[in-house]
Symmetry: C2
C-alpha cells in the first residue's frame, strides 16, 4: 500500500493508503474513536467505527498514547470539518514505537521545563508552526537575493580578529593562538562584493552578552547582503523591497501556520515598500518630547524604538546616526558628526530587525576610525586593502533571522524562533 | 545614463550605458586601446579608438592600472569575438579609486602569498568561477530539498556535548562552562525530523584536526538531511537523486565557469541515478587484491577510495561498514558486526563526498553504543528521548559543500572552494 504524507492526502480520495506518523491526540467514545495523527506535514483525523472493525482493533486503540509512533492504513475520505479537509477511515494500524509518560502533556508547563525538553517541545503545535515560518522566511530571503543577481558566499566563523571590539566575543584556542567566533560576516562580505558586485553571507553569529532580555540570543543567524557601487539611498530602496517580499511571501505560504499562531496579519499585510525614512535627528526631536529618559546623541533603547515605530503603519527607517554610537566602518555623512547608517524598526514594538549602512571607502578616514576605536590596525590590513586597490562606494545590511521570525509570528520571546536556542543559561539540549 | 551590469548588456545593443567596475586588463596600441572591465557579473571589452575620442581621454587610459575602479560609459555594440558577445564603444570614464602596485599580477604567485591575499585573490578569474559554482551548488542543494518536502532547520553550533568524542573538538569558554563547536548537525536534525518528518540542516562544522591534506579544512560547510521512516535503501535512493540533480543543475547553470576552470565535464554528465552500490565486504574483496596495504575491517584511505571509485563511471555507494569504525548512532545490520552506513565516493579520485546511514532506533542498543564508545550518557539524555517517545526507523546523510564543489570544479585543493579557508595554518584574513 502506498505511503502518503498527510499534506498530500487530498489527491488520494477514495484510495487506501498508509500514513506514518505519531499519535497527536485521541478522542474516544463508546462506538467511535478518533486518532489524531501528525506526520510533520499536517494533522489527520483517523476514524475507527466500532461496527466496521474487529473488536480487537477497536479495543487496542486504548493502548495508543500521546507521541507513540504508528503506521496506520485506511481509506481517504472527504471531510470538510476535519483538519486538511480529509479523514482516514481506518482499516488497521501498527505501533512502531511506544511512548510512555510523554513529558509534555496538553496541560500548561513552565518555560524552563519546556526549554529543557526543547527536543520534544518542537513537536507541539505552536512550535511546529513557528519552525515552518522560520524555514520559509529564510527561503524567501535567499530566493529574493538569488533572483536579483546576488551570490551567496559564506563568511568564516573563526577569525583572528574581531569586527567590533572584543568585549562580547567568544574565544577559542586554535592550535596555539586565539580565534574568535564571528559577530558578523560583514567585513568579509565587503571583500567578496569587490569580487562579485552583489553578494550575501548567511550564517550563525555570536555575542557573548550577558543580557537576559527577550530579544537576545548568544547564537543567532544573520543574512548580510553587501553591494558594490551602492550608496545609502540605494541600500534603503533594496531593504524595503527585500523586507516587503519576504513578509508578503511568508504571509501567502504560511497562512495556516499564522492561524495556529493566532497572528493578527493585518499589520503584516501593510508591509509594502516604500517605508517612511526619518533621520536620527528627526527621531531625537520626537523622543525628546515623548520619552523623558532619552538623551540626544545616545543609541535608542527598546522603549525609544517603540515610541518611534508606533507612529507609522509599516516599518520605518532611521538613518544618519551620531558617529560616536556606530562602528568604525561607517561612512561619514555631510555633517562629520554623523554617519550613513540605517536601522529598520519593525512595527508593534518588535524593534530593530535590520541594521545597515554605507561603508567608509576612504582609506585615511578608515585608518582614523580604527585608531579612534582603539583597534589593532594590523588586524585590518586586509580590510584596508579593499580601499587601497580600487575602492568603490558600497553599502550593505544585516537582517536577524530570529527577530524577523519573531515579528512575523508575533512571538514575544525570541528563544521560540530558533530550533535550539542558546542563551546565557541554555547550552542544552 | 543607465547603470547596467555586464551580464545584462546584450539587452542594450545600440544604447548608451554606464558600467561600474574594475580594470581587469589593458591592451594598448597606437591607435586603439582596449580596457577589459570586470564588474562581478562578467568581463567587458571596452574599446577606445583614437580618431573617435579627445586626445586627453585617449592618453589618460595609460593611468588606468590593474584593479583601479571606474565608471565607464559608451555605446553597447555587437561583437561576436568579445567575451559576452558585446563590446563598449567608450565615450568617457571616471576613475573611482586608484590601484597602485596591485599585489596579484598576471605572473605566477606561490600559494602562501595568494592565501595571505585571499581577499584580493577572490577577484582572479579562476577563483571567481569557483565561487560562482559554489553558490550555485548550495542553491541547487537547497532547491532540491525545498521542493521535495524538506524543511531547512539550523542545528546549533555551540553545544555542551559532542557528537563523536572530544579529541578533534574546538572548545570555548561559555559563561563559566565549556562549549564545543559543532562537528555535525545530525543529532539535532534527528530531533527536528521527529517533529517535521523531513528536514535538513545547513551550517558550518568544525574539526580541530591537525591534518594538512588537500581534503581537510578546520571549518567547512555541511548540508545534512534527515528523514523519519526512511531505511538505508530509501536513503541511498534519495542521495543518488539529490546528487544527480545538483551536478546536472550546476553543469547547466555554470557552463561558462566550468570552461574558465578547464573542467572536462564529460564525467560529470554521466552523474545520473542510479549509482552502483557495493557492500563494504565486496569492496574489501577488491581492495585485498589491489591494495597490499589495505587491512580488512579498517576504514578506507584516500588510495583505497580511488581504487574502488575508478572501477565505475559514476559515483559509487559503499554500504554496511564494520561496526568498530563507525559512530555509536548507526543502526546494526543483520550481521551485528556491521552497521547500516553508506558512503558515496565521487569518481576521478575525489573520494568521499557523502556519508550517511540509518540511525539506531532501539534505545537499549543505543545505550550499549554510548557505553561502548566511552561517552557520557547524561549528555545524550535528550537524544535517547527520541527513542523513548515514539521512536521510528530513520536515516540521513551529510554532504560536504567544499568537497562537492572541488569535485564539480575539478579543483585539486579544497582550500580554493571556500571564500576564506581555515586550516591549521590559516586563520587570516
Amino acid at each position: 500500500m502506498k505511503w502518503v504524507y498527510i499534506k498530500d492526502l487530498k489527491g488520494y480520495l477514495g484510495q487506501d493508503v498508509v500514513v506514518k506518523g505519531w499519535v497527536y491526540n485521541l478522542r474516544v467514545s463508546k462506538n467511535i474513536k478518533f486518532i489524531i495523527v501528525r506526520d510533520g506535514t499536517g494533522l489527520l483525523q483517523s476514524v475507527v467505527v466500532k461496527a466496521e472493525v474487529s473488536e480487537e482493533l477497536f479495543n487496542s486503540i486504548e493502548d495508543l498514547t500521546q507521541e507513540a509512533s504508528l503506521e496506520i492504513h485506511g481509506t481517504v475520505k472527504d471531510c470538510e470539518r476535519a483538519p486538511g479537509g480529509v479523514e482516514l477511515a481506518v482499516k488497521g494500524f501498527k505501533i512502531v514505537g511506544k511512548s510512555i509518560d510523554y513529558p509534555i502533556t496538553p496541560k500548561e508547563h513552565g518555560t524552563p521545563f519546556l526549554m529543557e525538553n526543547r527536543h520534544l517541545w518542537l513537536r507541539s503545535k505552536k512550535q511546529h508552526a513557528i519552525m515552518r515560518v522560520r524555514a520559509r522566511t529564510i527561503k524567501a530571503m535567499r530566493d529574493y537575493l538569488d533572483s536579483n543577481g546576488f551570490l551567496g558566499l559564506e563568511s568564516p566563523i573563526l577569525s583572528a580578529s574581531s569586527c567590533e571590539g572584543t568585549s562580547t566575543l567568544f574565544a577559542c584556542e586554535y592550535f596555539g593562538e586565539m580565534a574568535y567566533l564571528s559577530q558578523s560576516g560583514q567585513l568579509y562580505a565587503e571583500a567578496t562584493a569587490m569580487a562579485h558586485g552583489k553578494v550575501y553571507t548567511f550564517g550563525p553569529t555570536f555575542r557573548a552578552e550577558k543580557s537576559k532580555t527577550r530579544r537576545h540570543l548568544t547564537e543567532f543567524w544573520m543574512l548580510e547582503p553587501e553591494m558594490a557601487y551602492y550608496d545609502l539611498d540605494m541600500n534603503m530602496d533594496l531593504i524595503e523591497n527585500f523586507v516587503s517580499y519576504v513578509v508578503q511571501t511568508v504571509l501567502k505560504e504560511c497562512k495556516e501556520d499564522l492561524i495556529v499562531l493566532e497572528r493578527d496579519t493585518s499589520s503584516l499585510e501593510r508591509v509594502k515598500a516604500p517605508f517612511p525614512r526619518i533621520s536620527y535627528s528627526e527621531a531625537a526631536d520626537i523622543l525628546e518630547k515623548e520619552c523623558p529618559d532619552f538623551i540626544r546623541g545616545e543609541d535608542f533603547g527598546a522603549a525609544h524604538e517603540t515610541a518611534i515605530s508606533q507612529r507609522y503603519d509599516r516599518p520605518v527607517f532611521v538613518y544618519d546616526f551620531p558617529k560616536v554610537i556606530k562602528g568604525f566602518y561607517f561612512k561619514e555623512s555631510k555633517d562629520p558628526n554623523f554617519v550613513r547608517g540605517c536601522d529598520l524598526l519593525a512595527p508593534e514594538g518588535f524593534g530593530e530587525i535590520v541594521g545597515g549602512g554605507q561603508r567608509e571607502d576612504d582609506v585615511n578616514k578608515l585608518l582614523e576610525g580604527i585608531e579612534h576605536h582603539g583597534l589593532n590596525q594590523d588586524d585590518y590590513k586586509w580590510y584596508l586593502d579593499l580601499r587601497r586597490y580600487g575602492t568603490v562606494p558600497h553599502s550593505g545590511f544585516g537582517i536577524g533571522v530570529e527577530r524577523t521570525v519573531g515579528w512575523i509570528c508575533g512571538v514575544h520571546h525570541i528563544r521560540e524562533t530558533i530550533p535550539f536556542p542558546r542563551t546565557i543559561n541554555n547550552l542544552r539540549p
